[in-house]
């Protein structure tokens, strides 16, 4: 541990590096914040401010862990403060409960979950256009196969084929990763 700390190198935060960090983490961070706040605009603002702070104080900011850990900790703490400020709000009592008890562990699981979802989102995003569109209409927007068929002026059969195609493709691209993570989380759940 001590050895690791000694060898810890402070990251040199250039503008380019911050943009890289943004591209890599912004969506996950925002979705992660949204899980606490249930308000996408608030979540976006919080994450944006974390980046703005990083931007403006890049010369002074000392990141003691990884840049990623720094970003998540900042977002999580800001969310926690926001929730505290909102504490009279009935809908967030649930959040406070688990944030105050064993919050860190819980927050890590939420983060893991969010990363998984983002990987899935990215995988879907890489599906062929028609396939992607149909899959999203079905899974995200909750339309039935018939509704999609009617909307796009194609047969229900084609819709079903495209969804199967998407599933197959996703199983290949994201499946192994999901499987590994699911096994781990199942294993953790059993403990």
């Amino acid at each position: 541990m001590e050895h690791a700390l000694k060898n810890q190198q402070f990251e040199n935060l250039t503008e380019t590096r911050i943009e890289e960090l943004f591209k890599e983490h912004y969506s996950v961070l925002t979705a992660y914040a949204n899980k606490f706040l249930s308000d996408l605009d608030d979540s976006r603002e919080i994450v944006q401010d974390v980046f703005v702070h990083l931007f403006d104080h890049r010369a002074a900011v000392k990141i003691h862990t990884s840049a990623k850990a720094h970003l998540y900790t900042s977002v999580r703490n800001t969310c926690l403060n926001t929730i505290k400020q909102r504490k009279n709000h009935a809908t967030h009592h649930e959040n406070i409960k688990y944030l105050s008890s064993g919050f860190s562990l819980q927050a890590d699981k939420i983060l893991e979950q969010t990363e998984l979802e983002y990987a899935l989102f990215k995988a879907i995003d890489e599906l062929p256009e028609q396939c992607q569109r149909i899959f999203k209409l079905n899974r995200m927007d909750g339309f039935t196969n018939q509704e999609i068929a009617d909307q796009l002026g194609i047969s229900k059969r084609t819709v079903e084929t495209q969804i199967s195609k998407a599933l197959k493709s996703l199983r290949i691209t994201i499946g192994p990763m999901l499987a590994t993570l699911l096994i781990i989380s199942l294993f953790n759940a059993l403990k």
Binding site: Y26, A31, L116, F121, R139, E160, P176, L186
Partner: protein
């Protein structure tokens, strides 16, 4: 068969996930799951994909490109704002300090703001103040006075020797601070002189003058022909028997049955010389004469002629001796 179990049609899995599977599909699925433990994991992940549709919808609504622009704009703003703030803070500090010092300088520094100062070197000078008061400043003297007399009193400060001819103004007393003396008048003429050892002499020529010791606040009132002396803690007044107290201003030296010691002292003051008297006979004599704008050479000649003495001049030093004794030696 085994081969079949390892492979499953996507349509079957989809039907399972959609929960629209037929009995046949259910059976196919159960066989597939049982065939290999990895299949179960695959299905679980598929289920995950299937069910997380709502959860991943959020990513659809995050516009990274737009939000990156927002961050850059916010960042620039805060940087600019902070820079301005920092600059403004420094600027304000400097400005406040500057104005404070300006006010201080204006209030206190003669010649800069509210006050003027005049300092005479080797010449005598006449200054007319804003209220019309005339000030004759002797050599190596200094006066500090307001450019305008706006307050209820007319305050000036003087070091050295000066003759004041104060313009009468009953509503605005004229106050001079000089050495330990505070001199207050309404309108009059008088001479103020700081001597060594903290002595200040005020000789009144006309009108009435109040002379106050700055430390003890003791006051004497002086009228024409009187003089007041401030020395340490004391204030004294007496008849002014010095005929030549303002000779430096009038350039007239007057002696009227004046003891020689006083004559020499007046000459020393007026001409700025040092006189050493080695003639004993002079101690009992008095002298009557008058000089107007006379060079020291003329005074020496007259004295030598009248008193039959010898005056030797060595620069600023005059040595007086008896003529005869001088010859004998």
């Amino acid at each position: 068969m085994k081969q079949n179990n390892q492979y499953i049609d996507e349509q079957v899995l989809k039907a399972i996930l959609e929960e629209t599977s037929s009995d046949m599909e259910q059976l196919q699925f159960q066989e597939w799951i049982a065939a290999n433990s990895a299949n179960e994991a695959t299905f679980l992940s598929l289920q995950k994909i299937w069910k997380s549709g709502k959860a991943i919808e959020v990513f659809q609504n995050i516009d990274e490109t737009a939000d990156w622009e927002i961050i850059k704009t916010k960042s620039r703003k805060t940087i600019k704002l902070k820079k301005v703030n920092l600059f403004m803070r420094y600027a304000a500090t400097v400005l406040i300090l500057l104005s404070l010092s300006l006010v201080y300088l204006y209030q206190t520094t003669p010649g800069f703001g509210k006050y003027s100062q005049y300092k005479s070197m080797q010449t005598k000078n006449k200054i007319v103040l804003a209220d019309g008061t005339q000030v004759y400043l002797n050599k190596e003297s200094k006066i500090i006075y307001p450019k305008y007399f706006n307050s209820k009193v007319r305050n000036v400060e003087m070091i050295g020797e000066a003759y004041f001819q104060v313009k009468p103004n009953p509503t605005k007393p004229f106050i001079i601070k000089s050495g330990d003396a505070i001199i207050e008048v309404l309108g009059t003429s008088f001479n103020v002189k700081n001597e060594t050892d903290g002595i200040t002499i005020v000789s009144v020529n006309s009108g009435k003058v109040s002379l106050k010791n700055r430390e003890t606040q003791e006051v004497v009132y002086l009228t024409k022909g009187e003089k007041g002396v401030i020395q340490k803690q004391k204030v004294s007044e007496s008849k002014n028997e010095e005929l030549n107290f303002n000779a430096w201003k009038t350039n007239v030296l007057t002696f009227k049955n004046t003891p020689m010691a006083t004559v020499f002292s007046d000459l020393e003051n007026y001409y700025g010389v040092k006189i050493t008297n080695k003639s004993v006979k002079l101690d009992t004599l008095t002298y009557t004469n008058s000089f107007s704008n006379a060079p020291i050479g003329k005074v020496i000649d007259e004295l030598e002629l009248l008193l039959k003495i010898h005056i030797m001049q060595k620069g600023n030093h005059l040595i007086i001796s008896d003529e005869k004794k001088q010859i004998k030696n």
